[in-house]
Symmetry: C2
Subunit: 116 residues, 2 copies
């Protein structure tokens, strides 16, 4: 059994094209021999965002702190702490911190083979 | 894309032998066509616990609220909000709310084929 304090996991800036002021902590992934899925925490500074993109695997997301808008095929949808999203494979999406001043934090789980 | 408020997902009492005062909300699972993993939220009343058991699949857990002890091969380990655990397949484990008065809440992710 592995137990971690998420805030002690190294936060790495997301440097994909279109990402802004967002970092990721890989809580459990291939380096922990997670067999099926990887657990990551994303932290978006005020005004930060993930890329507007799609990929051949799903996300499951839980908002932990702050106010986030998820860009979906049906437009922007607001999410708050305690809200969860299932983004299917191939659906274009983006997570944006809509606050001008407050950081946002969310968990994002993906199939482990897509976590480097 | 599916978005849910976790607290609006139906909470079902866990009725496995050894479980006490614990309920589960299946946030995303087979009924949502989650392809790889299921996201559940467990809520443990004061003094509540999950069964002390093992199974052929892993758990990834994030404590959201309250104080939890996880029973592991190396004894009880305390967990607080912001702590995460990877319980490998076949390792015996149990989650116990150690507070006499405060409910606890945790996310628990499993491979989807093990979520009914």
């Amino acid at each position: 059994m592995i137990i971690k304090k998420i805030e002690e996991v190294t936060a790495v800036p997301v440097e994909m094209a279109g990402a802004r002021d967002v970092s990721v902590r890989v809580v459990f992934g291939p380096k922990d021999a997670a067999p099926t899925f990887a657990l990551r925490q994303f932290e978006l500074a005020a005004g930060g965002c993930t890329p507007h993109h799609s990929h051949p695997f799903e996300h499951e997301v839980v908002v932990l702190a702050g106010e986030i808008a998820v860009v979906s095929n049906e437009g922007d949808k607001p999410m708050s702490p305690g809200d969860a999203a299932l983004v299917p494979a191939h659906e274009k999406h983006q997570f944006k911190n809509t606050s001008p001043s407050v950081p946002a934090r969310m968990l994002c789980i993906v199939p482990v083979q897509y976590q480097k």
